[in-house]
């Protein structure tokens, strides 16, 4: 394995371009409101001083009171429109059509600036792409390492402990997810779900250990079969169905849904990598020194498969972005007041003359995916042996 540190100088040209592009999109995502906004970044007047781009409301109130005041000093953003600001004069104007209006990439059907939309949309794309994969990786790491570490061996666990665990699980499920008593006090369903998962993981950690009377629990079979079942449900259709039933989308819901489709692939990958590492000598020596299983997984196995997980993460971000874009393209993603690349692209369906609505957002999606793949491929080739390519799709 090549353990040399990765520096920007040592990268090949295409990797440099990819990293550059990802940083640009990151910049858009973080500082979008300072690049494109309909209020100045800094505004100074003897009555009102401050950063309107950070907090619009008080500035707009000030502007409403005294309309025609000249500021002493102000810094204007590069693009004088935010993603939601409506320019009533220019509907579907071509890029560079009206030089005075500064719509560099034209406007869409709702009279909004396309470039501003692209800048604001990068936040949604990256947020959903990265967050959903972080969730999927956490879940996949937990299940995959359990499954891989205990494959063909099984967990040796106490009989009484296991029965106790089952009872706790039933109680947790009944109490937190089904019974209305608790839901009166913990109103939020997502909080209850989170609590359920945390308590489940905790109780598994505390209780799956040997006692006087033991038996082998084939945890690998359990996990691989559930992954198999999950992978044979048609993902996009299921996603469409769930999103249709749950009503209006927000970023949190969409992230959860996308990560629901991502975890089986990552679990499978982690399982395979853990099985590879498990056969190494240092694991055996650690075990013979009496290191506990959890510690072996956390301290000796997981550090050895970080690269592969990062590679899977890079590919996963690409496919999550694609998924989010196709959902918004169908009009089933985030509500239309939140501008996304897929939504801008979908407007070109009804306006075949507006080529700028098709080309620029699509190019952004495509380039971001290309950049993610480039990074993934580069890291994958540096690991020496190419890991399984299942995770690409």
């Amino acid at each position: 394995m090549n353990k040399q540190a990765i520096t920007f100088k040592s990268m090949p040209f295409n990797m440099k371009v990819a990293v550059g592009f990802i940083s640009l999109v990151l910049l858009f995502a973080i500082a979008g409101r300072f690049i494109a906004n309909d209020v100045p970044i800094y505004y100074s007047h003897k009555d009102w001083k401050g950063f309107p781009a950070m907090n619009k409301t008080s500035f707009l109130a000030f502007k409403q009171k005294n309309e025609d005041v000249e500021p002493d000093f102000q810094i204007l953003p590069l693009i004088p429109y935010s993603a939601t600001s409506i320019d009533y004069k220019h509907s579907l104007s071509k890029p560079g059509q009206d030089v005075g209006s500064r719509h560099l990439l034209g406007t869409d059907t709702f009279n909004r600036d396309v470039l501003a939309g692209i800048i604001y949309g990068s936040r949604t794309a990256l947020l959903i792409g990265i967050l959903s994969n972080i969730l999927a990786v956490i879940f996949g790491l937990f299940l995959g390492s359990l499954s891989g570490y205990y494959s063909s061996v099984g967990v040796v666990t106490g009989r009484q402990n296991f029965i106790f665990l089952l009872m706790i699980e039933i109680l947790l499920g009944y109490g937190l997810l089904y019974n209305p008593y608790v839901s009166v006090y913990i109103y939020n369903t997502q909080v209850r779900l989170l609590l359920f998962f945390i308590l489940t993981i905790l109780s598994v950690y505390m209780l799956l250990r040997p006692q006087r009377k033991n038996f082998r629990l084939d945890i690998d079979l359990l996990i691989t079969k559930s992954v198999e079942i999950f992978q044979s449900v048609p993902g996009l259709l299921l996603l469409l169905g769930i999103s249709a039933v749950t009503g209006t989308m927000d970023v949190v819901k969409l992230t959860l849904l996308v990560s629901l489709l991502r975890w089986p692939g990552i679990t499978r990958l982690v399982r395979g990598e853990v099985i590879k590492v498990r056969q190494s000598q240092f694991i055996e020596s650690a075990k013979s020194l009496g290191v506990t299983d959890w510690r072996v997984i956390a301290k000796h196995i997981l550090p050895n498969i970080t690269r592969q997980i990062i590679v899977a993460f890079a590919f996963g971000v690409a496919s999550s972005i694609l998924l989010e874009a196709s959902l918004s393209f169908l009009g089933l993603g985030l509500p239309p007041d939140q501008v996304t690349w897929g939504m801008l692209l979908s407007q070109s369906r009804t306006n075949p003359a507006a080529w700028w609505l098709a080309i620029f957002p699509g190019l952004m999606i495509s380039l971001l995916i290309l950049a993610c793949y480039t990074v993934g491929n580069y890291l994958n080739n540096r690991t020496g042996e190419t890991s399984s390519k299942e995770e690409i799709i």
């Binding site: 008593y181 079969k225 044979s232 299921l238 169905g241 699509g362 290309l370």
Partner: protein, 466 residues
């Protein structure tokens, strides 16, 4: 071998069960909304605001027609505080209210009494003859509202002070007292004690299972036509497109992978590789909309108007077979290309990699050493070993082809199953949507089982025993 097939088929059963359960959970997610959709499409003009009695009558009729009055599953898991007769309530807003009241008060006797009082009052009000019509009407509406909403109603109090009938006035006061009682109460601990009730086969899940095979009763909420009929009409377009895309991608990727591995290292092969990489990163819906935009209209010059702007084309009366095929292919070409190009890239990359892995083996070296040309080495020796992972992949790409065809059918306006699913999402036609998900899930599972069996049959090294 037969043992392997039986085992594989048996493992398909839990997968199908999970898909069934998932579809049922989603379909059954909000019965109230289902009834609303059905009513707004079938009983137009029946609004809850105008005539409450008529509304409840039609509501209950719809609930019975859709089978939503039955319990959800073979058994019901509730708690000790739940109203015992909750299963018999057909008016769903009342049911939700009863559940909520039982959950917050934990006093099922009080909940039962509350609804009993309302029913009694409604009966009494109906018998009134000497009251002013407006007042009677208003009282009826308020009482119906009280079924859906047990919050303290000031309007009811106003009416109770002006009403002449002593019996009704005292009962109204009773009702208001009960409303106050519910507002005061905190949840009781009897909610924590579970209670299981057995329902038998007369439940919604069983109904869904039987309707799946009987067909006629499983109706769309929008036009009351059997779901199976709607799906069958659209299925042929989806199958045609997907089959064409599947054949095209298998054929092209097979040829391309062999060509690439024979020309490996040459500049042409390298540029084809990079082209494939770039193609793979381009979302199919983007490529599709660009193709539609530039090559199916005269917006960018009539020179480029090569393809029809979506649809499947009209077939005239006297058209012969070749004309029909010509019209269909002309319409199918763009969507088929858009569905298959990512699949082609994916399959080609994998087959190429496994050919590369296999050609490093000793027997491949031997074949070359004894004088076989590179072509016959790859075709006769290497490919036979490299093809196995490719066959497994064929089973895995079927769901992704299905998913791809949803977007493409919407984009190219093809009346297939994907567009039907999309339209049923837009119009909240749950039965159609979840039957489509169910069918594509079943197709996926069957395809995976088939490829596994094919794999085991082709490669005798696979351990089919045990």
């Amino acid at each position: 071998m037969s043992a392997f097939i039986i085992k594989r088929l048996l493992w398909g059963i839990p997968t199908l069960l999970v898909i069934l359960l998932l579809c049922f959970l989603l379909l059954d997610h909000s019965p109230g909304k289902t009834v609303d959709t059905y009513m707004s499409n079938n009983f137009e003009g029946v609004k809850s605001m105008e005539n409450v009695e008529e509304y409840e009558y039609y509501y209950i009729q719809s609930v019975k027609k859709l089978g939503l009055d039955k319990p959800a599953f073979y058994f019901t898991l509730t708690n000790r505080a739940m109203l015992d007769t909750i299963g018999r309530i057909t008016f769903l807003p009342k049911k939700t209210q009863a559940e909520k009241l039982s959950a917050t008060s934990g006093n099922k006797k009080a909940v039962g009494e509350y609804f009993h009082t309302i029913d009694y009052l409604l009966n009494q009000v109906r018998r009134l003859t000497d009251t002013v019509f407006v007042q009677k009407n208003e009282l009826t509406r308020e009482l119906y509202n009280a079924k859906k909403d047990a919050d303290y109603s000031e309007k009811l109090e106003q009416i109770s002070q002006t009403i002449d009938d002593k019996n009704i006035a005292s009962q109204l006061k009773n009702l208001l007292e009960q409303q106050k009682y519910f507002a005061r109460n905190k949840p009781s601990a009897s909610l924590l004690i579970p209670a299981i009730k057995w329902n038998g086969t007369d439940n919604r899940f069983h109904l869904m299972l039987t309707r799946l095979f009987s067909g006629e009763k499983n109706i769309s909420l929008i036009d009351s036509r059997p779901v199976w009929l709607k799906i069958r009409e659209s299925l042929r377009f989806t199958l045609a497109i997907n089959l064409l895309a599947f054949i095209l991608s298998v054929f092209v990727s097979y040829k391309l992978a062999i060509w690439l591995s024979m020309n490996a290292g040459r500049r042409v092969a390298r540029s084809v590789n990079s082209l494939m990489f770039v193609l793979y990163t381009m979302p199919a819906f983007w490529v599709g909309s660009m193709l539609l935009m530039f090559f199916s209209s005269s917006t960018y010059g009539s020179m480029l108007n090569w393809f029809p702007p979506g649809g499947v084309g009209d077939i005239g009366q006297g058209d012969n077979f070749f004309e029909i095929v010509g019209i269909r292919l002309h319409h199918y070409l763009l969507p088929v290309i858009c569905i298959s190009y990512p699949v082609i890239v994916f399959l080609t990359t994998h087959l190429k990699d496994s050919i590369k892995d296999a050609s490093g083996n000793q027997w491949a070296v031997t074949a070359r050493a004894k004088g076989l040309s590179e072509v016959s080495t790859i075709k006769r020796h290497v490919l036979r070993n490299a093809i196995f992972p490719y066959i497994t992949l064929l089973g895995n790409i079927i769901p992704s082809i299905f998913a791809g065809s949803v977007i493409m059918e919407v984009l190219f306006n093809i009346p297939g199953m994907g567009r039907l699913a999309y339209q049923s999402i837009i119009s909240r036609d749950w039965p159609v949507l979840f039957n489509i998900i169910l069918i594509s899930g079943i197709i996926t599972v069957l395809a995976q089982i088939l490829t596994d069996i094919l794999y085991a049959w082709l490669d005798p090294r696979i351990n089919t025993g045990k």
